[in-house]
Symmetry: C2
Subunit: 319 residues, 2 copies
């Protein structure tokens, strides 16, 4: 049976990412438990004889997640930090990583050295051990580094994406957009913030923003609800404005659609004392912005003037 | 900085697999603990709040681990089983897997469906949950599936590769060689055998045979010792003889060098009651061959007639 097909209709590209993932869930059937114990959250939660384990996996691939303009140390660091951001989004603590490398025989040793030095520096900084891996030769022109990261819950709970209710507020850390101009490889994963948020009773659900707010919000939205987002409330990074100057799109377009923000998107219970929550945040993280950008409304009661998120859909894989 | 180099001397191919791994350990420094807590055994052993965790990672890549002649269900099953064999080699029990996929947009949906059905069937058979993953678009012509598998110790210990002493016996399960003719995708990982062996006090060390006995034995051999292997004792698979007919090599050449045997290589303490050990094995695994193939000698006292393993070096990555 041939693995590649010349007929687009029979290829995964015809399905697109979202439908492909739905198909995969069907194919795996009961070999894949429901989220958060399986596919569908930032990390999988695996019951263990000790604290619940968190597992996540994300790669960096040459030509897709980085190119020759990104210093190899930043690529190595980014690989780990992408995965750390998923642990942060569950309120967990990272423990150990394994790295599977597929690389062409003509990969530069000097480049690879810097890649590993960047990975090692990030691992030390965030107290992760790189405990193993595999190296396999890939066809010419290919370099992919596939990292699996293991963590564990810090406190009594992990925060999943599920459970938002009507009236729950939506918050975001930092600011959004224009990541391509630098943040995508320079960000600091919000581990401390995530762990703190997981201990706050105000927080109902959480995820990290990786594919763009407009797309990622879907994953927090239960059936029957919709996110009512106030455009003017969105914290926009200066880089998003710079991008907008080049693309002739609006800064909001970049803030909602660019992706690779690696900020935390937080659902706060509608009955929570928001004043208290915000004061506690400002005391613990005086330098990190926290912004309320909207709330979850019932679909039949969407306020006029809410952002039409469909117009700002972020990065789509497999197009 | 350019990731690929036209100068072979500056490429990873010039280093070769063994030196590259040594370099990587140096680059990672204290971000990577010593085996078995880091790189260098079948799995990494990660201390946790419960039982020690085992983590391993191995991929399947089109054109390297399989081609279009291998049914996609067998490819999916092989991916999991390769990793299960590593868990088996530590005497552990598998728990959960995450899968990172890098695939060209023209990957056939029907092929991918069968790949996942094969993976799911193997996962059910060996009681592993596929708990998450990632899908990333790769350049045309590429398909790689990178699995990370998590397990835990079954009994009070995990069996590492280390610790062999002079006089310790070397055993192997099943038979070796000619895996390419079918076994490489049809094998059953020796999980039950590995878990049983880990409970036996006779067993000092263990690993699985993936790169060929002649190469893999190195990993069990401490400084100052050498494996004294008796050629006539090696259990040779009929497929190795078939291969020998085609390649004009000896069946022994294929048995020692082919790789992908996924059998267990076991170090038995020199003072153990071997008769008792073998009887217990035969009672528990009446259908699985267990063969003593040699022992560890001091390098200065190698018996005449031992196999010169260097002549049979198995699969070398990155040539």
């Amino acid at each position: 049976m041939k693995i590649f097909t010349p007929l687009r209709a029979r290829s995964v590209a015809a399905l697109g990412e979202r439908r492909l993932i739905a198909e995969i869930r069907g194919w795996l059937g009961d070999a894949s438990p429901r989220a958060p114990f399986g596919i569908g959250d930032d990390c999988a939660v695996v019951p263990s004889s000790g604290r619940p384990m968190l597992i996540t996996t994300d790669p960096v691939i040459h030509g897709r997640h980085f190119d020759d303009t990104v210093p190899p140390r930043a690529v190595g660091a980014k690989l780990l930090k992408r995965n750390l951001s998923d642990i942060a989004a569950m309120g967990g603590r990272p423990v150990a990583a394994v790295l599977s490398l597929a690389l062409a025989a003509d990969t530069s040793t000097a480049w690879l050295r810097d890649f590993y030095l960047g990975l090692a520096a990030a691992a030390r900084k965030f107290r992760v051990k790189v405990v193993g891996g595999d190296i396999t030769q890939a066809p010419a022109g290919f370099f992919g580094a596939f990292l699996a990261l293991h963590g564990e819950a810090v406190g009594p709970r992990v925060v999943t994406r599920g459970g938002a209710r009507p009236g729950d507020r939506i918050y975001v850390t930092g600011a959004l957009g224009g990541s391509l101009l630098g943040r995508h490889s320079k960000f600091t994963p919000r581990l401390a913030e995530g762990a703190w948020l997981a201990k706050r009773s105000e927080v109902r659900a959480m995820m990290d923003v990786s594919d763009g707010l407009a797309k990622d919000l879907d994953s927090l939205t239960p059936a029957g609800l919709a996110p009512a987002i106030c455009a003017r409330a969105i914290p926009i990074r200066p880089a998003a404005k710079k991008c907008a100057g080049q693309t002739r799109q609006t800064p909001l377009f970049h803030a909602l659609g660019d992706g690779e923000d690696y900020e935390l998107l937080i659902v706060v219970r509608h009955r929570a004392d928001e004043e208290k929550f915000r004061r506690a945040w400002a005391k613990r993280f005086p330098r990190v912005r926290l912004t309320k950008i909207g709330f979850f409304a019932r679909t039949e009661a969407m306020p006029a003037g809410a952002v039409r998120l469909l117009d700002y859909r972020g990065y789509e894989h497999l197009r």
